[in-house]
Amino acid sequence: MKPEINMGMKVLVVDDFATMRKIVRNILKQIGFTNIVEADDGANALQMIKEDKIDFVVTDWNMPNMTGLDLLKNIRATENAKDTPVLMVTAEGLADNVVDAVKAGVDNYIVKPFTAETVQAKIEQIFAKRSAKA
């Protein structure tokens, strides 16, 4: 059964390439999300997360200033943001990368290239697991 997802939640898309932010934003809009904001690296994303209430983060791994993995670790170490769901969308597809991300507390992981269907399925998995735990 599909989980109930609040489509008005604030979603932060983090990628150093505007193209990828636009692709992810388009897919999130297709899924039904209405409140999407963007950051172009991990450091800017972390600042936004600390200053604002972000409900869900979709992040790349390889970025200047702060990588997606370091962003994830920082989110998990930030008191008012540590439970924020995080989806990584990255070209880092080796098993070691996935293990590192899981150890750091990622909720789900997509290796580029990807389809809109994959993004939707991974997001549904995240919120199904979260609602089962609640």
Binding site: F17, T19, K112, P113
Partner: protein
């Protein structure tokens, strides 16, 4: 250069462009490229650190990249503008990353740099090593593009 490296880049190219831009890609016959002059209008170049060290480039004709990016973003483009250049960077990132993952599963450990994008008629592509450059031509309905790889022995 180890010829085992050709196929991962070839299949990564076909897979990334088909998945992200819904575009069918047909590979031509690889050839040895002897000069630095690009075979198109806009290129993305990625440095690869091994061993062996090397680099990959992706060079598109204007018509080809405009159609690919229009498909990727669901928008219509007419010129090679900043959006198109950013997309060339991201395509270079995804193709080199996919090939790197494939080679990683076969025992090679590579890191890839953040892509640089060069454009303009007759622009040069500077590979990271002096080894021969293998070029793989591709065709799409919108035009042609070329992937070049060069690795030290």
């Amino acid at each position: 250069m180890n010829v085992e490296f050709i196929n991962p880049f070839l299949s990564a190219t076909i897979g990334v462009i088909k998945t992200m831009a819904f575009t069918e890609v047909k590979a031509g016959k690889p050839f040895l490229k002897k000069d630095k002059i690009s075979c198109g209008d806009v290129s993305g170049v990625v440095g690869i650190t091994g061993p062996p060290n090397g680099s990959m480039s992706l060079t598109f004709s204007k018509g080809c990249i405009i159609q690919i990016v229009s498909n990727m973003l669901g928008e219509s483009f007419q010129e090679v503008n900043d959006d198109i250049k950013d997309a060339v960077g991201e395509l270079s990132n995804m193709i080199s990353g996919t090939a790197r993952n494939d080679l990683g599963n076969n025992g090679y450990s590579f890191k890839t740099s953040i892509p640089t994008v060069v454009s303009g008629p007759g622009h040069e592509i500077r590979h990271m090593c002096k080894a021969p450059t293998i070029a793989i031509p591709f065709s799409t309905a919108g035009g042609s593009f070329v992937v070049e790889i060069s690795f030290e022995n």
